[in-house]
């Protein structure tokens, strides 16, 4: 299974330390997925729980997972790092620190097709946005913005990933954050 890849093309968090936080979750969370700020982890100075989006929290401040792609392979409870060199094999494994970036209106991000739920069915009036969804970390394709985190699709793009033979372009979509509340 291929996991999502994220590129933070131009985000406000680039210049603000307070906008980049460390999260932890008991779920596996793909890069490009979103969550809200939970309680600070007991005994930790700078680690917060990642809270899965819910109807009641769709209008809260969201963070997007954007960790370095260090693939963790878990075998019999033991963790092995970098056995696979492919960003599509990377997921923030439960219990591992996640780099979460605060999304602001105007931020531009690039998400691989795997980072999104639902199906892209074309630009224009069909699938124009990716939005936060109740019960899912992944953003979901939508035909309109919602009252809550909404990213507007601005361009279909690609992310170069070397591997195997033939095409090295992973389909991706560029978004600008349209609304955060």
């Amino acid at each position: 299974m291929a996991y999502g890849i994220v590129e933070l093309l131009a985000v406000a968090a680039d210049n603000t330390d307070a906008s980049v936080k460390t999260f932890i979750s008991s779920d596996n969370i793909e890069n490009g997925s979103v969550f809200t700020l939970g309680a600070v982890v007991s005994g930790q100075e700078d680690e917060f729980a990642a809270v899965k989006p819910a109807t009641a929290t769709l209008t809260k401040q969201f963070y997007m997972a954007a960790s370095p792609t260090r693939v963790v392979t878990v075998i019999n409870g033991q963790k092995f790092y970098d056995m696979v060199k492919d960003p599509r094999a990377f997921i923030n494994v439960a219990g591992e620190p996640i780099d979460g970036v605060m999304l602001k209106i105007g931020d531009v991000v690039r998400l691989s097709a795997d980072a999104l739920a639902g199906t892209y069915v074309g630009s224009g009036s069909v699938t124009t946005h990716a939005v936060a969804t109740d019960g899912a970390y992944k953003l979901t394709w939508a035909t309109a913005a919602i009252s809550g985190l909404s990213l507007k699709h601005i361009r279909t793009s690609y992310i170069p990933v070397a591997g195997g033979f033939g095409s090295q372009r992973v389909t991706a979509y560029d978004f600008v954050v349209d609304a955060v509340a």
């Binding site: 890849i5 792609t69 060199k85 690039r110 591997g163 195997g164 033939g166």
Partner: protein, 362 residues
């Protein structure tokens, strides 16, 4: 990682022996190409030298002189350590000959990697894409922060084994030779590696896009299609392209204009195809027998491939460890059959950032 060369160096402790091994390699290549002389001596003399070399190595390992058993050479050859030594020398020779022989013919598409036992072949890949600029205002510090990712392909190796056997009675009567069977088994290993390389290459190239701007797989030869494909491969590989095909396939490469004429001395008639086609070299690949089906051939006569040999090779072959051999004496078998076994471990896969294309002839 080590190399088969190192194995041979370890096996042969003195410079004289190394030279003998190299001479044997030279002899093998000359024998295979049908030469009548090698290194200034006749093939008959070279054959005697090769026999003497093999005997010398066996004597060195076993510390048993064959001359002491000249009255009963069969008994000498029947000693377990003598036959073991003979086959271990053969295994080293197999290691030395197989890669060189394969390299010569598969060089445009495959790269061979020699590994120690237990090693896994990993091919590191860099993206072929570039970061392209975009227009930006004069007062803006950063453009969009973009990136790309390297890749890695792991190629597992698998052990292959061939066992051949002959009846003890046939050894006694001299009708069959186990060594001859083992030589054929070695040749079978070489053929199988060659098949694996071509199968992996054909499958990988055939799976590329067959439509749209990314098209690299075409059906139907035309001058324009071939020239445009060679241009595309050369441009994206940033390295000159060549056209590969069997003699039959390459003979179909002709200009669109039917006003061509060639005389009997032309390269087309003498060699079976043009040497260059609109600036792209044409390389004929030697057809090989497909032993899976009687009288079938392995290379597809309907395919013209376009590759850039100077770029990263399309196919990578990992050769794990050296060839192994075991011999079971006839008297160790309940039904008196002497066996020889050759084992070799290798893996083959397409792993590259280079591109290739294919045209299936009409």
């Amino acid at each position: 990682m080590n190399s088969n060369r190192n194995l041979i160096m370890n096996f042969s402790s003195d410079a004289e022996t190394i030279t003998d091994f190299e001479k044997f390699e030279e002899y093998f290549n000359a024998y295979k190409s049908g030469a009548s002389t090698v290194g200034g001596v006749s093939m008959e003399k070279a054959h005697q030298n090769a026999q003497a070399f093999l005997t010398k190595q066996v004597e060195k390992i076993t510390n048993k002189k064959s001359a002491d058993w000249s009255n009963n050479l069969k008994q000498y050859c029947g000693f377990t350590d003598v036959s073991e030594a003979a086959f271990s020398v053969l295994a080293v020779l197999t290691d030395m000959i197989i890669p060189n022989s394969l390299l010569t013919q598969l060089a445009p598409i495959a790269e061979f990697h020699n590994m120690a036992w237990g090693d896994t072949l990993k091919i590191q890949l860099k993206p072929r894409d570039l970061f392209m600029p975009s227009k930006i205002g004069r007062g803006k510090r950063l453009g969009n922060v973009r990136r790309m990712y390297d890749g890695e392909v792991t190629i597992p190796t698998y052990l292959r084994e061939t066992t051949v056997g002959i009846d003890y009675y046939d050894i006694l009567t001299g009708k069959y030779s186990l060594a001859e069977y083992v030589a054929k088994a070695s040749a079978g290993m070489e053929a199988q590696i060659r098949y694996d390389v071509w199968d992996a290459f054909g499958t990988a190239v055939g799976a590329l896009d067959a439509s749209g701007s990314a098209q690299l797989v075409y059906t139907g030869y035309t001058q324009d299609t071939l020239v445009a494909l060679a241009e595309k491969i050369g441009a994206w590989n940033n390295s000159p392209a060549v056209i590969l095909g069997t003699k039959t396939a390459c003979s179909k490469i002709l200009p669109a204009s039917t006003n061509y004429r060639f005389d009997l001395e032309s390269s087309y008639v003498k060699e079976g195809s043009v040497r260059d086609f609109f600036g792209t070299p044409v390389i004929q690949m030697e057809q090989i027998a497909n032993y899976a089906t009687e009288f079938a051939v392995k290379l597809d006569n309907t395919k013209l491939y376009v590759v850039s040999p100077a770029q990263q090779k399309i196919i990578h072959v990992g050769m794990e460890g050296g060839a192994l051999s075991t011999v079971r004496e006839a008297k160790e078998s309940a039904h008196l059959i002497s066996t020889g076994t050759i084992m070799k471990s290798w893996g083959v896969a397409a792993a590259t950032s280079a591109l290739a294309g294919v045209i299936t002839l009409n």
